[in-house]
C-alpha cells in the first residue's frame, strides 16, 4: 500500500504526457487518455518499483474515474438550460430531433445487423447518438468558425442532443442497471427513474430561494463543501433508487443551474471535472484488453460509416430547416460527427450492467476513429463539398 500515491502519481503523469502529446498533434485528448490506459492495463510489463499495471491503485483509479463521470454530468447539467434551448429556436428543435432520431435508428440498425440483444442494442444506440460537445466546441474555436451562421445551429443541436442523452441514460439505467428481467420490471424501474427525475426538478425549482440562501456564503471552502456534498449525496441517493448516479449528478447540476450562484459553482467545479474526467477516460482504458479489440473492428467501421451518413443527412435537413446554405449544411453534418465523452459514458453504463464486452470494444474503436476523423472531416468539409459538387455536376451533365 505504501506505493499508492506513487502509482496514482504515475497514472496522472502518463495522462498528462499523452495530453501534451495530443495537443501538440492537435488531436482531441480523449482517445489518447483511453489509449494510454489500454496500453498500461493489466498486461503491461513492470520494473521494480515502477509498476505500470496499477494493481494496488486500481480500486482508487477506478473510484476517481467514477467521480469523473459525476463531475462531467454535473457540469453538463450546470451548463444546460431549457430556456436557452427554447430561445435558440424552432429550427434547432426540429433539426435536433431529426438528428437524434436518425442516429438512433442507425444504432438500431447496427445492433440488428450484429444480432445484439435488446440491452446491448440500446447502449449502442446511445453511443452512436451522443455527439461530443467538448470536441466540437474545440474544433470550431480552433478553425475560427465560431462566427459562422451554422455554428449557432450546430451548438443548438448539440444541446438538444445532450438533453436526449440525459433522458436516454435515465431510461437505460432502468433497463440495464436494475437487473430487472421482465418487461414489467424494466418498465417499472424506468418509470420510477423518470418520476424521480421530474419530481427532483420540480421540487428543486420550488426550493430555489432556500438553496440560494444556503449557498450564500462568502468562504470558498464552505461553498465548495456545500456544493460537493450535495453532488455526492444526490448521486449516491439516486443510486439507491436504481437511478444511475450519473443521472443524479446531472439532476443536481440542472437544479443548481437555476441558482444565482451557478457561475461560481461552474468555476469551482471545472478543475475537478478536468482532473477526474481525465481519470475516467484513463480508467475506462484500463478495463479494456487491447487484444479483444480485433473482433470489434468491423462493427466499428460499419458504425462509423453509418454515423457519417446519418450526420450528413441530418446536417442537410437541419441546415434546410434553419435556412443556411447547402455548404453550411454540409459543415453542420461533418462537424457533428465527432464522438467522445458521452459515448464512453454510455459504454461505461453497459460495463456496469455486465453487458457483452463487445459493446465496450466497439465503443473504444468507434470513439477512437470518430474523435480523429471527426475534426478532420470538419476541417475539410469545404473541400469535400466542392468535390461533391463537381461529381454531381458531372453526373447531371452526363444525363
Amino acid at each position: 500500500m505504501d506505493t499508492l500515491i506513487f502509482e496514482v502519481g504515475l497514472a496522472i503523469a502518463l495522462i498528462a504526457v499523452v495530453g501534451v502529446f495530443s495537443t501538440k498533434l492537435r488531436f482531441s485528448v480523449i482517445p489518447f487518455y483511453i489509449l494510454v490506459g489500454m496500453v498500461v492495463g493489466p498486461h503491461a510489463p513492470h520494473f521494480g518499483i515502477i509498476d505500470l499495471r496499477f494493481i494496488e491503485s486500481s480500486v482508487f483509479i477506478d473510484f476517481m474515474g467514477r467521480l469523473g463521470v459525476l463531475f462531467l454530468l454535473f457540469y453538463l447539467g450546470l451548463e444546460f438550460s431549457v430556456g436557452r434551448l427554447i430561445k435558440s429556436g424552432k429550427s434547432i428543435v426540429i433539426g435536433g430531433s431529426f438528428y437524434v432520431a436518425i442516429n438512433f435508428v442507425s444504432g438500431l440498425l447496427l445492433g440488428w445487423m450484429m444480432g445484439f440483444p435488446l440491452k446491448e442494442t440500446m447502449v449502442i444506440c446511445g453511443i452512436m447518438t451522443s455527439s461530443s460537445t467538448a470536441i466540437v466546441a474545440k474544433v470550431l474555436v480552433d478553425l475560427k468558425r465560431t462566427a459562422n451562421p451554422e455554428t449557432e445551429v450546430i451548438m443548438g443541436m448539440i444541446m438538444f442532443d445532450d438533453l436526449f442523452i440525459a433522458v436516454h441514460i435515465s431510461l437505460l439505467s432502468g433497463l440495464v442497471l436494475s437487473g430487472a428481467t421482465s418487461w414489467t420490471g424494466v418498465l417499472f424501474t424506468s418509470l420510477t427513474a423518470l418520476v424521480f427525475i421530474l419530481l427532483f426538478i420540480v421540487v428543486g425549482r420550488r426550493l430555489m430561494p432556500w438553496i440560494d440562501k444556503a449557498l450564500n456564503v462568502r468562504s470558498t471552502e464552505l461553498f465548495l463543501l456545500l456544493v460537493i456534498a450535495s453532488l455526492f449525496l444526490v448521486s449516491g441517493f439516486s443510486e439507491t433508487l436504481h437511478v444511475a448516479e450519473a443521472i443524479g449528478a446531472l439532476l443536481i447540476g440542472l437544479v443548481l443551474a437555476e441558482s444565482v450562484h451557478a457561475k461560481r459553482i461552474e468555476q469551482l467545479v471545472l478543475p475537478f471535472r478536468d482532473l477526474f474526467g481525465a481519470m475516467f477516460f484513463f480508467s475506462f482504458g484500463l478495463t479494456i484488453d487491447p487484444t479483444s479489440l480485433g473482433g470489434a473492428v468491423w462493427v466499428a467501421v460499419v458504425g462509423v460509416l453509418l454515423t457519417i451518413v446519418a450526420n450528413l443527412l441530418s446536417g442537410v435537413f437541419a441546415g434546410r430547416a434553419s435556412g443556411v446554405s447547402a455548404k453550411s449544411s454540409v459543415n453542420i453534418g461533418f462537424t457533428l460527427v465527432s464522438r467522445g465523452e458521452f459515448s464512453i459514458i454510455m459504454a461505461n453504463i453497459g460495463k456496469e450492467g455486465n453487458l457483452m464486452p463487445a459493446v465496450q470494444s466497439f465503443a473504444v474503436l468507434y470513439v477512437l476513429i470518430l474523435a480523429v476523423i471527426g475534426p478532420l472531416l470538419t476541417k475539410e468539409s469545404k473541400t469535400i463539398y466542392g468535390l461533391f459538387q463537381k461529381v454531381t455536376g458531372r453526373v447531371q451533365a452526363r444525363e
Partner: protein
C-alpha cells in the same frame, strides 16, 4: 448601429454588429474570456474571416482605445460625461489660451466659474489628480473638469479668453 446577440452554448456569446457605414463585424466573447473579431467574407457570405483574437486584458485595453479613454481624437476634445446635472468634461488647452503660465490658485478658477478642475493630463501623458492651487496650466495639457453645464462653459471661456 444594429447589434444582434446570440448564445453559443459551450462556446460563449456572439454579437453581430452592422454599422451605419454598412460595415459588418462579428464579435465572439468566449466563456474563457477571449474575444474574437470577425468580418464577413465579401465573396462568400457563409464564411467569416477572423480579424484578431484578444485575451481578456488585451480586449479591455482595446475597448479603452476605441472608447477614446487613452487618446482623445480632436473631434472629441470636449468629450463629456453627464451624471444628472453634473457634467464631467475633457478639453485641451490650446497654446493661445490666456490662462497659460498662470496657476489655478491665481486664476481663482472655482470662485470665478463655479467649476472644478479635477485632473490634468499633461503633454507627456502624466496624470495630476486634483491639482492644487499652485498647479501651473501648461499649453497642450488636457483638463478634466466637473460642474454644471453653464459653469463648465464659463470655465472654458475664462481659461481661453479671460474675463
Amino acid at each position: 448601429m444594429n447589434i444582434g446577440e446570440t448564445d453559443l452554448p459551450g462556446i460563449g456569446r456572439k454579437f453581430e454588429v452592422s454599422a451605419r457605414s454598412g460595415d459588418q463585424m462579428v464579435i465572439i466573447i468566449h466563456d474563457d474570456g477571449r474575444r474574437e473579431l470577425y468580418r464577413k467574407n465579401p465573396d462568400d457570405p457563409d464564411e467569416s474571416i477572423s480579424i484578431a483574437t484578444f485575451d481578456d486584458d488585451e480586449a479591455r485595453h482595446l475597448a479603452g482605445i476605441i472608447g477614446g479613454m487613452t487618446y482623445k481624437p480632436k473631434a472629441l476634445e470636449t468629450i463629456e460625461v453627464a451624471l444628472d446635472d453634473l457634467v464631467i468634461e475633457w478639453f485641451k488647452l490650446e497654446s493661445d489660451a490666456r490662462c497659460i503660465g498662470n496657476t489655478i490658485g491665481n486664476l481663482k478658477v472655482r470662485e470665478m466659474t463655479g467649476a472644478t478642475i479635477i485632473a490634468v493630463i499633461d503633454k507627456g501623458h502624466q496624470k495630476h489628480l486634483i491639482p492644487g492651487p499652485d498647479f501651473p496650466l501648461v499649453a497642450g495639457s488636457t483638463l478634466i473638469a466637473a460642474g454644471e453645464r453653464a459653469q463648465l462653459k464659463m470655465l472654458k471661456m475664462y481659461l481661453r479668453k479671460g474675463l
